[in-house]
């Protein structure tokens, strides 16, 4: 394999697998802080169950996130040495700060949060939950500061040193307080919470349906009912917000990365009054692999894309892909990924309203169709996140730093095709196994259900510290 292609494929694979785990940990963080707070304040068994059960899933996700995350940090050097040399001055700093400010915070307090309930007081335990949650979100801050700079670079100066183009930092505020950052951060964090809410709702819906619709008795039904309700509340907040905010984000992309926006809409010729194809039906194989908005058969909102790009003007002009000097990004991937993501986003809104309505009617636990819909959507949030990142990262190709450096120019000059192919093939195998194991372990944790009965601290009278902690050993 060509070292450039293998490096790009490997980076795509390793980021796409990695992002699943931060989505789980960042999305779970606010729930866990809430569960910990309620557990400490109310001492109701269900909150201890919620805290312990979801902490277990958090911890596994965090560990897998750690080991797959280190890979990414190394890959900038191993596979994209030319990029790292050229942009290290702007790009390395946020990564270093991420490690010191965020990753350290979450990884240390995670030890206390996961293993230390019996060792520390309520206050420090609650602080640990906040520190872990805050750490996961701060991580996103610094990673997205780095990424947003690549999308819309500012505050830099180009120089040629030793025959190489190098980026120098001249204005840190412009570079790091990048307007793109706030769009990405809100979109990503909301997506993480939404994805986890969908996951929680999907899992809980299964047990609620088994108990209430199919009539199987479930000892922890209280736990699953509460999970479903809390997840539904989170979904009712995040799902509409995501669409509303996504619309603003789309407009920002149209202004700052017109080539990406044109690819998202498959607009080849500059045009005004461009319709937005909410539903696009491919009518031939060609229209899948090479979509052109003008030739698609679909349900289009007249002027919709123009409206989206301009913030309300249906007659606005959209610059077509043919206008740009560089080659276009792979339009088919960007166009269809964008549509699938937006489609799922609207489905999640529908789902949240459906669940909210049933709850309002007092029928939340009886609607088997709703339960099945939730179960079927349990991992769709994560799928939508993946598609969103595909739009973001594939859509800005051929650039690794928009307008400054192309991705293929960033690849390590000395890298051989053999080396790159060996590691790419290795990652395909290793990460397939990793995903399989992760899914297997999460499924097992779910099947085992939350700790209950004597296992719960809240079901014990306060015991003197020297008494043996009975029952903890058969925790799992």
């Amino acid at each position: 394999m060509d070292p450039v292609i293998a490096s790009r494929a490997q980076f795509a694979l390793t980021t796409m697998v990695h992002i699943i785990f931060p989505v789980m940990s960042m999305g779970l963080a606010p729930f866990l802080i809430y569960f910990t707070w309620k557990d400490i304040r109310t001492a109701e068994p269900v909150y201890e169950q919620l805290r312990r059960f979801w902490t277990k899933i958090f911890a596994i996700s965090f560990v897998v996130g750690t080991v797959t995350g280190i890979v990414l940090e190394f890959e900038f050097g191993t596979n994209f040495a030319a990029f790292s040399t050229a942009a290290g001055e702007l790009f390395g700093g946020p990564l270093a700060v991420e490690g010191m400010m965020a990753f350290m915070l979450e990884a240390t307090f995670l030890g206390i949060f996961v293993f230390g309930r019996d060792r520390v007081g309520d206050k420090l335990y609650f602080i640990s939950s906040v520190a872990v949650g805050l750490g996961t979100w701060l991580s996103a801050v610094w990673i997205l500061i780095a990424n947003s700079w690549m999308q819309t670079p500012r505050g830099y100066e180009l120089a040629t040193e030793g025959g190489q183009t190098v980026v120098h930092l001249v204005d840190p505020i412009a570079a790091y307080a990048n307007p793109r950052f706030s769009y990405m951060f809100v979109h990503m964090q909301n997506a993480a919470v939404e994805s986890v809410a969908l996951f929680m709702a999907g899992v809980a819906a299964y047990y609620v349906m088994r108990h209430h619709v199919w009539g199987f008795d479930h000892e922890n039904i209280d736990f699953w009912e509460t999970t479903l309700k809390i997840a539904l509340i989170a979904l009712l907040i995040t799902a509409p917000l995501q669409a509303f905010h996504g619309d603003m984000y789309g407009r920002h992309v149209a202004e700052t990365q017109p080539q990406k926006f044109a690819a998202m809409e498959a607009v080849w010729e500059t045009d005004s009054y461009v319709p937005e194809y909410i539903v696009a039906f491919p009518t031939s194989l060609d229209s899948i692999t090479d979509p052109r908005a003008k030739e698609l058969f679909g349900i289009g909102i007249p002027g919709g894309a123009s409206w989206l790009a301009s913030g309300g003007d249906p007659t606005a002009e959209i610059t077509g892909l043919n206008e740009f000097d560089t080659e276009s990004p792979p339009v088919a991937i960007v166009f269809w990924a964008f549509r699938a993501m937006v489609g799922m986003g609207f489905w999640f809104i529908l789902l949240s309203f459906w669940g909210g309505y049933r709850w309002y009617k007092g029928e939340l636990f009886e609607d088997a169709l709703l339960h099945k819909a939730l179960m079927g959507s349990s991992v769709l949030g994560i799928v939508a996140v993946e598609l969103g990142w595909v739009v973001t990262e594939v859509g800005r190709q051929p650039w690794v730093i928009q307008g400054i450096m192309k991705t293929r120019e960033g690849v390590s000059p000395g890298l051989t095709g053999t080396e790159a192919t060996i590691t790419f093939a290795g990652f395909v195998g290793l990460y397939a196994a990793l995903l399989g194991l992760y899914a297997y372990v999460i499924a097992r944790v779910i099947r085992n259900g939350p700790p209950s009965g004597d296992d719960l601290r809240t079901n014990h009278e306060p015991t003197p510290p020297e008494a043996p902690a009975t029952g903890v050993a058969d925790d799992d």
């Binding site: 277990k56 911890a59 560990v63 897998v64 750690t66 080991v67 995350g69 280190i70 940090e73 190394f74 900038f76 050097g77 191993t78 596979n79 040495a81 030319a82 790292s84 040399t85 290290g88 001055e89 390395g92 700093g93 990564l95 270093a96 700060v97 490690g99 010191m100 400010m101 990753f103 350290m104 990884a107 240390t108 995670l110 030890g111 206390i112 996961v114 293993f115 230390g116 019996d118 520390v120 420090l124 520190a131 930092l169 001249v170 204005d171 840190p172 505020i173 000059p413 000395g414 080396e419 790159a420 060996i422 590691t423 290795g426 990793l434 194991l437 372990v441 903890v472 050993a473 799992d476």
Partner: protein, 333 residues
Amino acid sequence: MISVEGLSSGPLFGLPLPELWFGLMFALLATFLFLDGFDFGAGAIYGLVDTDRQREAVLAAVGPFWDGNEVWLVVFGGALFAAFPAAYAGLFSRHYLLMFAILGALIIRGLAPEMYEQRHDNLWQRAWSVAFVAGSVLAPFFLGVFAGNWLVGNEGSVSLIGLVVGVTLTLLTVVSGAAFLRLKAQHDLPPEVSTYGQIAVVGYLLAVVATLAVLAVRLPEGITTLLDPLIVALVVASILLAAGYILALRREQNLIALGIAGVLTYGLVTVVARIMYPGIDPATGATVSDTIVSTLPLNLMTIGAGLLLPLVVVYFVVLYTAFSGPITPEEAY
């Protein structure tokens, strides 16, 4: 508004920032090698204990700490990237397969305990035990191979210097791991753990001698480089410290033994840094001053690190205080 002018015109307080970052980078590496080192060493000793309870005692002892410990590697990589991007890019891309070998070992090492806990059947737990030991031994070994090649400017991955530094580092992690396990899980583990530590420290000294011998041949200025007073002092100190380590373990002064293992680790890394300076990538002849980023980002990073690293120390103090004293297998989750 912040005035960027003041931050671009010269180094903060006129400090020798390139040298400070060179030192900081190696200090971060040493901290990683010590802290995650005892996790790795514990993993190696895990392969030598007999019963399930003993194995679970090892896992419980490292459980709360290892994730935090491993972040020092991320911070080391980040500091190298941010302060010396060209050195970072050059080193990592030239030792391409080796870097992925390190990553592979770390992935297996990180996953194994999580997986081990999930099922209680024999085959499953045995397989993950093997993975845990392999990852724990191979991660420091490959890191040592990388460090050895880095130091003498080897282009390839397989070399004598890589082998001896790899063995040196692996033995050093066992030295730390034995002291750590004596401290945290003495009652659940057999007394042989102390013996393993004592054997490892003798092996470590022999490996250091072998490394110095190979370096005397491989370094451009040969033995002259090694006769630097700081290096001679550190080597002599290591011999004395090794004796002190053995004594401390025998007297069950386990915290002192662990502290000595830490000093040995920082000493070893200091020797490496001393040999390398003022170079940072001997393969290309690049020096610290060639590869350092420009003044503005360097000043910003210095402010950032100066504010954040003391906080990180606080986090670790909180964590290690919360888990002071022995940790029993029942605390594994």
